[in-house]
């Protein structure tokens, strides 16, 4: 079996398009955690995020014929994930806004007693996750793509089906909204 580890995403996708399943498996390995963390934060449901991540790769495999070399594979894949997540969010109007005080934020908590600094860090993560969860999904998704996935504006435009000018203004609005929802501004939080 051919090894695809040394190939770039687009080369792997081109091989997968020609029917080489191992090339597609390599892409799944590369992207499964990125797609999952994006979906977890977008849907706020770890269980649903697993299902959606699975569906993302299955849909991508079936739609490989439509992927074109000039589009970054990552942007194309995130577009599929994003559309699946929004379908799920729209179904039964599952868009959730979790109030700061109601969010337990213990998804990544360590049960062992922690010194003050660790506790403080954990509190900071908790506040930020909660503030993110309270953003409208449109703001949340664009911040996740920019700040966590580190995508350039052009790729974000591809994922969201927007033009670059709209991406630019929406990122600014989302940042302002998140700053307003945080109890401490990031540059004011002691580290």
């Amino acid at each position: 079996m051919q090894n695809f580890k040394h190939l770039g995403d687009e080369e792997c996708a081109a091989h997968a398009q020609r029917g080489e399943r191992a090339a597609f498996s390599e892409l799944v390995v590369r992207y499964q955690d990125r797609i999952y963390r994006f979906l977890v934060r977008l849907t706020r449901s770890p269980d649903e995020a697993i299902e959606l991540a699975q569906d993302t790769f299955l849909n991508a495999y079936q739609a490989l014929a439509h992927w074109q070399l000039e589009t970054h594979f990552s942007a194309w894949l995130f577009r599929i994930a994003r559309n699946l997540a929004f379908d799920w969010l729209r179904r039964d109007k599952r868009v959730q806004f979790v109030p700061l005080e109601e969010d337990d934020g213990d998804a990544f908590a360590d049960p062992a007693p922690a010194p003050d600094a660790v506790l403080e860090t954990r509190q900071r993560y908790r506040s930020l996750e909660a503030a993110l969860a309270r953003l409208p999904a449109e703001h949340r998704e664009i911040l996740l793509l920019r700040e966590i996935e580190d995508m350039p504006y052009q790729d974000i435009a591809t994922v969201l089906g927007l033009n670059v000018g709209t991406v630019k203004s929406r990122i600014a609005r989302a940042r302002t909204a998140l700053l307003e929802k945080m109890p401490h501004r990031p540059e004011e939080v002691p580290k």
């Binding site: 398009q17 029917g19 799944v28 499964q32 490989l64 014929a65 966590i148 630019k168 302002t176 990031p186």
Partner: protein
């Protein structure tokens, strides 16, 4: 230069600007504490988001999908070449136009179609063509007509 608005500062923080625009804004930011503070907020936000613990799937998804990816993906369809794509359409259109012109010329020529003589047109014939004769007088009358 007046202070730029949030979209410009945010794009500046992301270095998503044309070089000339970026240099102009950089000069302004250097001397503007208000913009420096706003920029620090945007940069701090990014830093904080990148530090968030990253939830991981925790298992090999490609192994789980292996069985469901047995069938090869649908192959991309080749784009139609010029000769196979447009030529049949053009030929069909041309033939349709030519036959239309030919039929039109037949009608406009005048020789092909001539009006029937008045004696052949029996507008008020009481018996329709192929109809049975309802009364002898009527049939006689119609036969007697010129």
């Amino acid at each position: 230069m007046s202070c730029p608005q949030d979209p410009a500062l945010s794009a500046y923080a992301d270095q998503e600007m044309r070089p000339a625009e970026y240099a102009k804004l950089a000069r302004h930011v250097q001397g503007c504490p208000v913009c420096q503070r706003r920029l620090a907020q945007f940069q701090g936000l990014r830093q904080a988001m990148r530090e968030l613990p990253s939830p991981a799937l925790g298992f090999d998804l490609s192994a789980r999908l292996k069985d469901r990816l047995r069938t090869p993906p649908p192959r991309p369809r080749a784009r139609p070449r010029f000769w196979t794509g447009w030529v049949p359409v053009g030929l069909g259109t041309g033939l349709a136009l030519a036959s239309g012109v030919w039929l039109g010329s037949l009608l406009a020529g005048g020789g092909a179609v001539s009006a029937p003589s008045a004696s052949l047109v029996r507008v008020f014939d009481p018996v329709p063509p192929g109809g049975l004769c309802a009364a002898v007088e009527i049939c006689r009358l119609s036969k007697a007509m010129p």
